[in-house]
């Protein structure tokens, strides 16, 4: 069926397009304006903004840790107001309403990938992907000691991607979860894992190299050490330096934008971080914006969650150790009246606004850690409206606002910048050639927003949302559920790594390694998956 969206302001930074025009699509793909054929269906977009479908590169939408959050907090969900851990179906519905068409779950240990893939299979409307977590497994440390270390690690990483059907590689507080098992309670960039003697820095280097060797497009996606601690800007700056020019993605940078200025020894250091990111072109970041309200923190940074469990609100938590990272679930409420939370809120916005290049800063709340993804509409509105920011700031503790530069920042995101940050750039970062833009050949993942005075309302309910050319949401109402694809990489590797893995796993853990592999036939079959090519 040939479909046409007419008369909207079409913004596609990938091809320098920004102007009133039409978008045509057929059989799930964008097509050039046909000659001599009339559209079978036409949608009027006059006065509206037409973008590619949104892409969220870092949102916890699946996996046993998130599911623990669901089971931990049934009472919060009873009145329907808590979006920290929606059921799988709701995740798809809520994202689709906002005009998103791809969401990446960034923290799945290969040993729990099967469940994560089952959960992804239950999320309708959008495409999905996971990143596989490595960096705290004894097997990795074992390989780091081996003579053929570098190659073996690359094989191991490729094998982990294959077994878990993951798109890229995530590393979370490298070494810290292993150190916690030996009763460490703090772990920085140059601390070493007891028994093995490897520092966080060494693990990051090894994994950056491995990712490069596999050819996976998405760079190592790193959750640094010392998350959330005052003064941790030094950790983030040192980590940026440690990358030595190689590609590195730093996740939820806001949680590392803290200095120790001021009477409470807690301040925003976002300007320093933004400056470093502006300078180091190999670095990409997502923000992990904090928004106020009840949420639940869900993280494979088990050391951080272990240390933070007593700040839980409500007072309950689950700290679960596992092969590699494990995970912790700690409910938390960000309060407008809290000095620290207000600084966090402002620091996130400072990062968004002080990092010049919208292709290297990505739009996230680290759902649900900074806030549920359902707060995105408010966040978009804040980025695009200086006056609105001033109104929010006026409601915060002024001694906290004074610890930030936010009041002085005049920048307002433009539509092309929003499109770049949430469409064009994330598709490139993930190595997707047919998503995030509107040129012929792209998947017909399209979001149409109708401008209105309340920008948040506009973003909450896109006027029209197409996924693979099918209308899936209109003014906030979703259509009959349909399912997108799960994207993954499939780098080659030497099968010899399987033998080493098998021996290590069976002896150490009493479980054959192959038992952890995702069985495609149980999660929708091969049609359900889409391979994203590696660099050759």
């Amino acid at each position: 069926m040939l479909t046409r969206i007419t008369g909207g302001r079409v913004i596609d930074p990938a091809h320098g397009r920004d102007g009133v025009g039409d978008v045509w699509f057929e059989d799930g793909r964008i097509v050039p304006p046909p000659t001599g054929r009339a559209a079978d269906a036409s949608y009027d977009a006059q006065g509206a903004i037409v973008l590619a479908g949104g892409i969220d590169i870092h949102s916890h939408i699946a996996g046993s840790n998130l599911n623990t959050a669901r089971l931990l907090l049934p009472d919060l969900r009873r009145d329907g107001s808590f979006d920290g851990a929606p059921a799988s179906f709701e995740i798809g519905r809520l994202y689709a309403q906002m005009g998103f068409s791809l969401v990446v779950e960034p923290a799945i240990s290969p040993t729990v990938a099967m469940q994560a893939q089952l959960e992804l299979a239950a999320i309708p409307f959008i495409d999905r992907a996971i990143l596989a977590v490595v960096g705290n497994e004894d097997f990795l440390f074992h390989l780091m000691r081996a003579d053929d270390g570098a190659n073996a690690i690359a094989d191991y990483v490729a094998r982990a991607l294959a077994g878990s059907r993951a798109l890229g590689v995530k590393c979370i507080n490298p070494g810290a979860a292993a150190a916690l098992k030996a009763n460490a309670r703090a772990f920085g960039l140059d601390d070493v894992v007891p028994r093995w003697g490897f520092s966080s820095r060494a693990i990051i280097h090894a994994l950056q190299q491995a990712v490069a060797t596999t050819g996976v497009v998405h760079p190592l996606h790193l959750h640094c050490s010392n998350l959330g601690l005052p003064g941790n800007v030094e950790t983030a700056l040192a980590t940026i330096e440690a990358a030595e020019g190689r590609p590195l993605h730093l996740a939820h940078l806001q949680f590392y934008a803290y200095g120790t200025e001021g009477p409470r020894k807690f301040s925003s250091a976002a300007p320093r971080l933004a400056e470093a990111v502006n300078r180091e072109k190999n670095i990409t970041v997502d923000v992990g914006q904090v928004m106020f309200g009840q949420t639940v923190t869900v993280s494979c940074d088990v050391l951080r969650q272990f240390n933070g469990r007593h700040s839980a609100h409500p007072r309950t938590w689950s700290i679960a150790e596992d092969i590699g990272n494990g995970g912790g679930v700690v409910p938390f409420r960000y309060r407008r009246t809290s000095f620290a939370n207000a600084v966090q809120f402002a620091a996130g916005l400072e990062l968004f606004l002080l990092i010049d290049d919208p292709t290297r800063v990505f739009f996230t709340t680290d759902h649900p850690n900074g806030a549920p993804f359902t707060t995105y509409p408010d966040l978009f509105a804040l980025l695009m409206d200086r006056e609105l920011r001033a109104q929010w700031l006026a409601t915060l503790p002024q001694e906290a606002v004074a610890m930030t530069t936010l009041p002085a920042i005049a920048r307002e995101y433009t539509w092309p910048e929003i499109a770049m940050m949430t469409r064009t750039a994330p598709a490139r970062l993930l190595g997707l050639v047919d998503r995030g833009h509107l040129a012929p050949g792209a998947r017909a993942d399209i979001a149409v927003y109708r401008p209105q005075a309340d920008r948040a309302a506009m973003f909450r309910h896109a006027a029209l949302v197409f996924k693979d050319g099918v209308l899936v949401a209109r003014d906030g109402e979703v259509t009959t559920p349909r399912f997108g694809r799960v994207l993954h990489s499939s780098p080659g590797f030497d099968r010899a790594i399987d033998t080493r893995l098998a021996g290590f796993f069976e002896d150490t853990y009493g479980v054959p390694h192959r038992a952890f592999d995702v069985a495609a036939e149980l999660v929708g079959g091969t049609e359900h998956f889409e391979v994203v090519p590696c660099r050759s």
Binding site: P74, D75, R78, P314, T316
Partner: protein, 258 residues
């Protein structure tokens, strides 16, 4: 018009969850509207004869141990039951007043199903006996059982006051963090996890407590007047709770070294 009155017409067919029958929510509703409300598979009108009222006051005439969750989650108003109630009466109650002129089941004033916190305010008075785990995880408020209570009364209590004028079952106050459990039946030794403590010499607090309890239940007020012992625990938990006990022979003061 006054109170809304629901008269039990016949024993309920199976356990009914009455949490929806909140006094404040029923005030001003017509008898028809109330009768049409559903309790799972049955309508209120199938089980109760309804007479409407305009006050935040609800009277249940006739009781049954199959009436669960009576006054559960209540925030205001008064609810009087002229008979017995089942499990989870006053569970998660936050305000208002519930009086049961009969026995109550398990988890009286405890945590509502699917919740982690017991009652957090208000006043509950049970003229008869209560089942197991009365006042479980209670956070605030006053819960008085004029009869006996089952095992694990005031278990996991966070704060508040539970008074049991009659006997209690095993392990009263187990995992108690803070709060007061008043026992009207003389007991001789503290339960496990509790140590023998001291009453404050001036008795000022007991005077305040007696006055507050007496206003709700003279019998409970008299129990305070007869308090002779104070036990502290549960030392397995935070250990800042107290059990106040009337009469009986206390074991000797626990001797600490130094």
């Amino acid at each position: 018009m006054g109170a809304v009155v629901l008269r039990l017409k016949a024993p309920p067919p199976w356990p009914l969850d009455l949490a929806a029958l909140q006094p404040a929510a029923l005030a001003g509703k017509s008898a028809d509207e109330i009768a049409r409300m559903t309790l799972g598979r049955v309508a209120v009108g199938d089980v109760f004869a309804v007479s409407a009222g305009d006050a935040a006051e609800l009277v249940l005439q006739g009781g049954s141990p199959l009436l669960d969750c009576v006054g559960a989650g209540m925030q205001s108003g008064t609810l009087l039951v002229e008979g017995a109630v089942g499990a989870l009466a006053a569970a998660g109650l936050r305000g208002g007043r519930l009086e049961v002129r009969g026995d109550a089941g398990d988890h009286l004033g405890g945590a509502a199903p699917d919740s982690r916190m017991g009652m957090s305010g208000g006043v509950v008075l049970v003229r008869g006996n209560a089942g197991a785990r009365a006042g479980d995880r209670m956070r605030r408020g006053l819960l008085i059982v004029e009869g006996d209570a089952g095992p694990e009364a005031a278990g996991g209590m966070i704060a508040g006051t539970v008074a049991v004028c009659g006997a209690v079952g095993a392990a009263p106050g187990v995992l108690m963090r803070r709060g007061t459990l008043l026992l009207g039946t003389p007991a001789v030794a503290p339960p496990p996890g509790f140590i023998v403590g001291r009453l404050a010499g001036d008795g000022t607090f007991l005077r305040l407590l007696a006055r507050a309890l007496h206003a709700v239940s003279p019998r409970a007020g008299e129990c305070v007047a007869a308090v002779q012992h104070r036990w502290l625990g549960d030392l397995a938990a935070l250990g800042k709770g107290e059990i106040l006990v009337t009469g009986g022979q206390a074991i000797p003061q626990h001797q600490r070294s130094g």
